[in-house]
Amino acid sequence: MRVISERRIVDDAWISVEPGAALPAAGHGVVAFSDWLARKDTLRATNSPLGVRVHSDVDPAALAAEAPNFALIAIEFPTFKDGRGYSIARLLRDEHGYRGDLRAVGHVLRDQLLAMERVGFTSFELAPGKSLESAVEAFAEFSHAYEAIGAGITSVRALRRRA
């Protein structure tokens, strides 16, 4: 399957794993957070990178405590109207210092991508049927941001202070 990663369309190496099921022989598995908590000793034994998927009601602090085990954290957007994932992403990045891949999955749409990237998401699995080619254009729609939210963003406030 194709996803958007760091603004490029790429073939994805991550494979979703059902609770309790074996990790894939090839590629990297993504387990549910509850599944991880239930059998983390077994899962920790794998040599390949592991990913975790969480719901939008996850406690970021509890997730952050486990985060060193994961190369990918996928936050589920059950609908585009559920904006909790944005705050979870910011807290993981800014408060807890998570540096791995942070992925938006679920009802993820083109016009949310820029905001998602700014709060810390690095990869995006679009909702079924959505054009990835159209979606990648969304990142270039705005030249500036009022606040310094997001990696490498210089805020308009900072630009003005320098002027």
Binding site: K81, D111, A115, Y146, R160, R161
Partner: protein, 552 residues
């Protein structure tokens, strides 16, 4: 007033271009109506009963004459020749063609305006005191802080999908003219006890709608440099924990109620401690440069005259206009003049394109080219020379805008109601005009004195019926429009919500019912100085109920 720099200007143009693409993708079918809805809502575009309605943001209600002329042009070219000023200091058009919306946004952008976040579950237009900068009772002008909040909230990536809409009001005066107690966040510039330093006081969880609630103070005083960080901490707690399972319980007031204001404040403080020294902290240079945009205009120090003398003018209609529509200004020789949009020719808050152009010309001539929309749907000229008031009044008279009813019973606040709105249960404009008719006699209105009358066509309370001294709420009773009569609300410092007086009335009955209510007040008051609200608070609803529901 605030002037866009290259960054603001680029962003509003890019927003218009982005919306052009979104409209094209909707028309081609690439996105569904369900997916398009939040995109158009975040540009202020609603689907109403007959057409698209567009809400244009007027940050803290402040407009330049140039902007008003563009709003007139848009009314003429993109709509049907008029616009409607709202209780949130914005402007709405009622007949917008989706395909032309991107061009319309470009027109707005050309005069430093937009419709960003005027709808949807995000931070809405920041509202403020219409007398900001000129009020005699002001500690500090709130507009620089309102503009800082406007920019902080514009395209804030974390808060674009909140549980529900989010409204912030800020005031810097002794008397609250911004209704801060009925906002999701109400901010007040206040002096700290002891050293008298001006800081910010935060109220959270106020609102009207289905569950009217007064905001609770969660931070009595905080340094101004923390404006953005403290607001962000509140929004983050709300975004994470506000209810999303039930639309009617999703506003922040429900979260504050369920946690308790103390626990809510504790969670906000914990978050704020973490981010207070981040980039969100305002540098004093930033506050100072924002303040410079709102520096007073160049007043003429030789301007003279007194308002008392104008009130004694032999020109009685003019004297009455001064009495009702003009207030004291902080600078000698100047006054604050209100233009009533509660004429009998047009629905409450409406202005035709030609009137907008004419008002813009008057603003240039009489008020340094600036005017303000207030939350009671009138326009304010904040800087009029006292010796020019009579000339201004004469010109307003010729435009049909010289009505002297500000603060009286015919200064009715009213939502668009069932004539336009897809949420409404009942018409409100027709009720407002029936009441205007009923109290058209200026002598009667003067006898009744200061009273606020607010009408909403449904429980969502866009007409602020809960906080009217007299509130009218349209309901649907077995398919027939009915109106509940509420008494005792206030949106000021003594904010309170009205109580339903008794069984609802039909549209035909409501003017009589209000008439009886008002007559009851006149009969019951201790003197003409006792306001309607005070008589009601002194006596309770029983004597009013008895008189309103008495059988003839």
């Amino acid at each position: 007033m605030y002037a866009y720099d290259q960054y603001d200007q680029t962003l509003v143009h890019e927003r218009a271009r982005q919306f052009r693409g979104q409209v094209a993708r909707r028309i081609s079918g690439e996105i569904t109506e369900n997916e398009f809805k939040p995109l158009r809502l975040q540009n202020g575009l609603y689907m109403q009963l007959h057409a698209y309605m567009l809400r244009v943001a007027i940050p803290y209600g402040l407009l330049s004459s140039k902007q008003l002329r563009t709003l007139a042009h848009i009314a003429r070219v993109y709509d049907r020749g008029y616009g409607h000023f709202t209780t949130r200091q914005n402007l709405q058009y009622n007949w917008i063609d989706l395909k032309r919306m991107p061009d319309l946004l470009d027109e707005l952008a050309s005069v430093e305006m937009h419709a960003i976040q005027t709808s949807g579950n995000c931070v809405r237009n920041i509202t403020s005191d219409p007398y900001a900068g000129v009020a005699v009772d002001e500690f500090e002008d709130p507009r620089p802080y309102a503009e800082l909040l406007r920019q902080w909230s514009t395209f804030h990536p974390e808060f674009a999908a909140l549980p529900r809409k989010f409204k912030i009001a800020i005031t810097g005066a002794e008397r609250d003219r911004a209704a801060i107690a009925v906002h999701d966040i109400g901010i007040r510039l206040v002096r700290r006890e002891g050293d008298g330093a001006v800081g910010l006081s935060f109220l959270v969880g106020g609102g009207q709608g289905r569950t009217p609630t007064l905001g609770a103070v969660i931070r009595p005083w905080i340094e101004k440099e923390h404006l953005l960080s403290y607001t962000e901490a509140i929004l983050r707690v709300y975004n994470r924990f506000g209810r999303r399972d039930n639309l009617f319980k999703a506003r922040i007031k429900i979260l504050v109620k369920s946690l308790g204001a103390d626990e809510f404040a504790r969670q906000v403080d914990a978050e704020w401690e973490r981010i207070k020294d981040s980039e969100l902290k305002l540098e004093s240079s930033e506050i100072e440069s924002m303040k410079a945009f709102f520096a007073p205009p160049s007043y003429d120090s030789s301007a003279g005259g007194s308002l008392d003398a104008q009130r004694l003018s032999k020109n009685r209609p003019y004297a009455r206009w001064v009495e009702r529509n003009v207030e004291r200004h902080r600078v000698p020789g100047y006054a604050i003049a209100s233009i009533s949009l509660k004429t009998r020719d047009l629905p409450t808050g409406d202005l035709t394109a030609d009137q907008m152009d004419a008002v813009a010309a008057l603003a240039d001539e009489f008020s340094f080219g600036e005017l303000v929309v207030n939350h009671r749907q009138n326009l304010v000229f904040p800087n009029v020379r006292i010796d020019a008031l009579e000339a201004l009044w004469k010109r307003l008279e010729t435009l049909g805008l010289g009505l002297s009813n500000v603060g009286t019973i015919t200064d009715i606040v009213c939502c668009p109601g069932l004539d336009y709105c897809s949420l409404a249960n009942a018409r409100s404009i027709t009720v407002a005009s029936a009441l205007q008719e009923r109290f058209a006699d200026a002598g009667r209105a003067d006898e009744v004195g200061d009273v606020t009358l607010n009408i909403s066509g449904c429980i969502n309370a866009c007409g602020h019926h809960h906080v009217g001294n007299i509130g009218i709420l349209g309901i649907d009773k077995q398919g027939v429009e009915h109106y509940q009569l509420m008494v005792g609300g206030s949106h000021e410092d003594d904010a309170s919500f009205g109580k339903i007086l008794g069984p609802a009335f039909t549209q035909e009955e409501i003017p009589n019912a209000v008439d009886r209510l008002v007559s009851a007040y006149v009969a019951l008051r201790t003197s003409p100085e006792e306001r309607f609200l005070d008589t009601y608070r002194r006596l309770g609803d029983a004597p009013f109920k008895e008189r309103v529901y008495a059988r003839d």
